[in-house]
Amino acid sequence: MSVAEFFNMGGYALYVWGSFGATALLMVIEPIMLRSYRHNVLRRISRLARIKAEERV
């Protein structure tokens, strides 16, 4: 089975790769977005904590 044949998927390339591709894409994007979410939250909280510390001084 050649590489080209493999990617052709017996004529179903669009459908098979369309499905697997979308799944892979979303399952990669989601963790990335989660990381940036966490990053944002941490930055916001650190800033809050700093402001609080300054106020106390």
Binding site: M9, G11, Y12, Y15, A22, L26, E30, L42
Partner: protein, 249 residues
Amino acid sequence: MSSRFINWFKFSSPATFYPLAGRMVPVFSLIAAALIAVGLYMSFFVAPTDYKQGEGYRIIFVHVPAAWMSMFIYLVMAFWAALGLVFNTRLSGMMTRALAPTGAIFAFLALWTGAFWGKPMWGTWWVWDARLTSELILLFLYLGYLALQGAIDDNRRADRAGALLVLVGVVNIPIIHYSVKWWNTLHQGASVSISSGSSMSAIMLWTMLIMALGFWAYTIAVALSRVRSIILEREADTTWVQELAEVRS
């Protein structure tokens, strides 16, 4: 008996759950990566070509696990929702919230891959058949939940309103599952059932199960890591959060 009870409630406190979840995330990420890698290998190189559907049937290895996950995550959300409404624990609202986006993604994937399968098999992207419609409704329920959460600023109200919505929508799950039985539809009937063994070849079944388990592990990892951020956000002004190493730096 009572000591077990206390243990339970200890872990339902965000302060203890946060580090625990932190330790579990990498474990499940690894499991997910390994299972999905094996599953992908099996779906393309081990599983044989179907005599009727040719190579096109390979979509089954993402379609069915995604569809299962979309339903299962909803049930888990309903479980947390009920818990939250009854015991008024803070963590349950956060768990429901953390699961929803992933559930929505899987519901979308089930629809997407189903459509990409339907085009070659049925000759159409979409029909208004009972299973397809009820799965679409599931996606709408997820989106509705997320929209409702976005619209309410007060966390407590958001949690309780969301929990109620999730519980109302749970009627949809049995409908999705049994729709093929109750109405005669275009969609495939159950091909995996406990009672009568399996109508699929064993290797296909195994591949599907491994993919499904991989998706499971992925969901756990993602949901736990999301709930950690939610905990941080909501408990921002407590001392335990402000003393965390990652906040201080």
